[in-house]
Amino acid sequence: MKLVVGKINIKAVVLDDEEKIEGSTLHINKQNIIDLVLADDRLADCDIEIAKPGDSTRITPVKDVIEPRCKVDSESGIFPGVINKVNLVGSGRTHVLKGCGVMTVGKIVGFQEGIVDMQGPGAELTPFSKLIEICLKLKPKDGLDPHQYEEAARLAGLKSADYIGKLGEKVEPDEVETFETLPLLEQIGKYPHLPKVGYVYMLQSQGLLHDSYVYGADAKHLVPTTMYPTEMMDGAIISGNCVSACDKNTTYHHLNNPVISDLYKQHGKEINFVGVIITNETVYLQDKVRSSDFVAKLAEYMGLDGVIISQEGFGNPDTDLIMNCKKIEEKGIKTVVVTDEYAGRDGASQSLADADKRADAAVTGGNANEVITLPKLDKVIGQLDYVDDIAGGFDGSLREDGTIKVEIQAITGATNELGFNKMSAQEV
């Protein structure tokens, strides 16, 4: 499968009557997007605000972030099986509006979390402070069931990113990159002397506010399967995960998975990147055993020499991570796990809820229990009243002077377990 990705650099977003991309400025019509969002009669209200890097702005609670993209001259669309036909994606040409994101804002439940500061120490911890954020502030109809609201909010973000992304279809990109993975036997034959490396992509899949979707299918009901890495770049996997802001994978992360992009950078040089195995993180222990058995079986079947395994979430998924690692290693295949830590405020406690001696190569995204004080910022997009109620917050988190003292687990993307951030740790 071969995908050509054209990147259109967006340096300014303006609200306008006309919708277009001119130079590096994206012009969007606010009312058109609001109409698109409110076509879903489960939502009562939608407003749009723009936040720029460096602004004295705090956005919270953030639900999802989506990068505007579109397929070019294709019958398929991005986010297949969700808002476009369930066609196989990952080949042809895709245009991406780099430098901006659609961010859905609003609390689905009382403890909804996720802070993105556009300046200051909090901004350093989230990749989303570096994007121009097109924030959709959503309000549900009175009495709407949380499942329905979650779905409506999820679709509002995806539909808007799809709509805005299409403005880039006829625009000449600033940069073009090509990614290609061949069918397994051909790919193995192409670089016969390089180690065959695969990626085990674990998806959050436990229930409401803890779900991911693959071509629209609920990941908790899937058995592990293989995918071409380029399918992710067209939105084959989307996020319905709203809990644990610091280490959830937003849809933006799924579209821009850094494990995939880094493996491609070494593809044909140091390694032969032969494909992705997706798997889930369920609550039922029998599902965990079956899924990890299948993951190890597929890794062996693909003839892999090495595997990178990434996790999403905390606690229960630690067990899936260790089961995957252990069973793949037992096949004689080397593994590296990518995770984050809940090592206590002093960083001295056991980091994960599970462990095994075979998990001897690990990359961490940082310690989610680390405490940070966020300064008062001039503007809030969303609402702050819930800050005491979020993970990492506590009674008195929101102080009278407007500063917030929280664990970094409240910050969206701070310890992302795909490595989409700057923090890590080194053994000394």
């Binding site: 949380p146 803890h210 809990v243 905390f314």
Partner: protein, 133 residues
């Protein structure tokens, strides 16, 4: 199968072994059942991404077939969960939540329990109060 829970929403819908106590009490009774009654864990005791010093509710499913031995895997998982719980509570105790937030936590725990029953292929009505035999 037995559902050990302190979540009134789960108790009201399903036949449960209800613990009128905290998250820690649920974990303690699960551990006791694994050791004393030789029951086996069916679900992970740290289900959901809500932290132990955040949510108040916990629901765990066990197989109540009495084995000849203690299932060591179940014991390892429940002991690890208790260690994680203690670590979080030592760092920062759970806040006094308003009723609305508590209700949301109960709902999430309930929903995960319900999704898990579906995954188990269990006929939820069989376990539903007044829903069947």
């Amino acid at each position: 199968m037995v559902i050990i829970t302190n979540n009134p929403m789960v108790r009201d819908k399903f036949d449960t072994l209800f613990i009128d106590g905290a998250y820690a009490d649920v974990l303690a009774s699960v551990k006791k059942a694994v050791i004393d009654k030789h029951w086996t864990l069916l679900t992970h005791p740290l289900s959901g991404s809500l932290k132990p010093n955040e949510t108040y509710y916990r629901t765990v499913f066990l197989d109540n077939t009495h084995l000849q031995y203690i299932d060591m895997q179940s014991l390892e998982y429940i002991e690890a969960a208790i260690r994680v719980y203690d670590k979080f509570m030592r760092d920062k105790p759970r806040p006094q939540w308003p009723a609305k937030v508590l209700a949301d936590f109960a709902f999430i725990d309930f929903d995960i329990a319900q999704s898990t029953l579906q995954r188990m292929g269990q006929d939820a009505t069989r376990l539903t109060k007044g829903g069947g035999s």
